[in-house]
Amino acid sequence: MKKFLLISLMTLLAVLILFPFLWMLSTSLKPIA
């Protein structure tokens, strides 16, 4: 159980950390309106 919570927390943090770059990637793939 503890391990599951730990991995969930770490995954959440990984998403948060990668968010600016994922957001930029998605923006770069969209056409300019």
Partner: protein, 288 residues
């Protein structure tokens, strides 16, 4: 080989260093004592540039901002880095290396790219941060993160922390790996709780790494031009102006290269002092 031969081998590297490092430094020092514009050198004016810098209220504002940027940025990064390192240090098997890789990404990304990413995230009209905050009902209309004096420096600080914490994390992680497990086991036998173990075993072992990290972080943040320049250019109304950006402002906006050089000599002196402390502590540090 004779001693002269060795010097001959070092000569090319020495000349290169002389040309790319000491020549600009010397020229900069000379410029700071001359009245220089972009077009020409109007000759020696002594320390007038330095007094002009010190008498400029903008310099004191930029110094204050630089200090808070480097001190707050470094300490917050170190705290976040320590937390992440402790998470990584939990035994979760092979996933550790995956997470370590993901957490290190902001550190390997160029500061220019990270700066632009944050600039877009914090955009007042199209930014994701405002969008999420409005969706969650925390604010009713978008905040001008980079466009108002109260939040500009804070926004850059957040971006800086997101860039610097992976370095602190990896240094702390390496130090955590070196702590002997027997000490924790002995403490457990003596009935120590997890907070006691953290305060009396983990923290003392991390002290030497923390000092090195603090100094490196202060030096790098104090010297950091990219993040502030890309996100705010020191604005609005100079509210997020830091010293390296002010050097650029003096030199290439006001075209007063002499004043810009004088300010960069001041920054150089501050950084040299910090570096000397860093090298002294590095020499004194017992091997981990």
């Amino acid at each position: 080989m004779k001693k002269g031969g060795a010097y001959l081998l070092v000569l090319p590297a020495f000349l290169f260093t002389l040309f790319v490092m000491f020549y600009p430094l010397g020229q900069n020092l000379l410029n700071s004592l001359h009245k220089v514009t972009m077009m020409r050198d109007f000759g020696w004016i002594g320390p007038a540039n330095y007094s002009a810098v010190v008498n400029d209220p903008l310099f004191w504002l930029a110094l204050k901002n630089s200090l808070s940027y480097s001190v707050v940025g470094t300490t917050v990064s170190m705290t976040v880095g320590l937390f992440m390192a402790m998470l990584l240090n939990q035994l979760i098997g092979r996933l550790t290396s995956v997470f370590k890789f993901i957490y290190m990404i902001p550190w390997v990304v160029s500061p220019v790219v990270a700066g632009f990413a944050w600039k877009w995230l914090l955009n007042d009209q199209f930014g994701m941060v405002n969008h999420l905050l409005i969706r969650l009902g925390l604010i009713s209309s978008g905040i001008l993160w980079l466009g108002q004096a109260q939040t500009a420096l804070l926004s850059v600080l957040i971006a800086r922390v997101s860039q610097f914490f992976p370095f602190a994390m990896i240094m702390f992680y390496a130090a955590l790996q070196n702590i002997p497990q027997e000490q924790y086991e002995a403490a457990e036998v003596d009935g120590a709780g997890s907070s006691a173990k953290f305060i009396h075993i983990t923290l003392p072992h991390l002290k030497s790494v923390a000092v090195v990290l603090l100094l490196l972080g202060l030096i790098w943040s104090f010297n950091d031009f990219n993040m502030v320049y890309i996100m705010t250019r020191g604005g609005p109304i100079h509210s997020s102006m830091v010293l390296p950006v002010l050097v650029r402002e003096y030199s290439f906006v006001l075209y007063d290269l002499g004043k810009g050089s004088a300010l960069s000599v001041i920054i150089f002196a501050v950084l040299l002092t910090l570096s000397a402390v860093y090298l002294y502590l590095l020499g004194k540090r017992e091997p981990i």
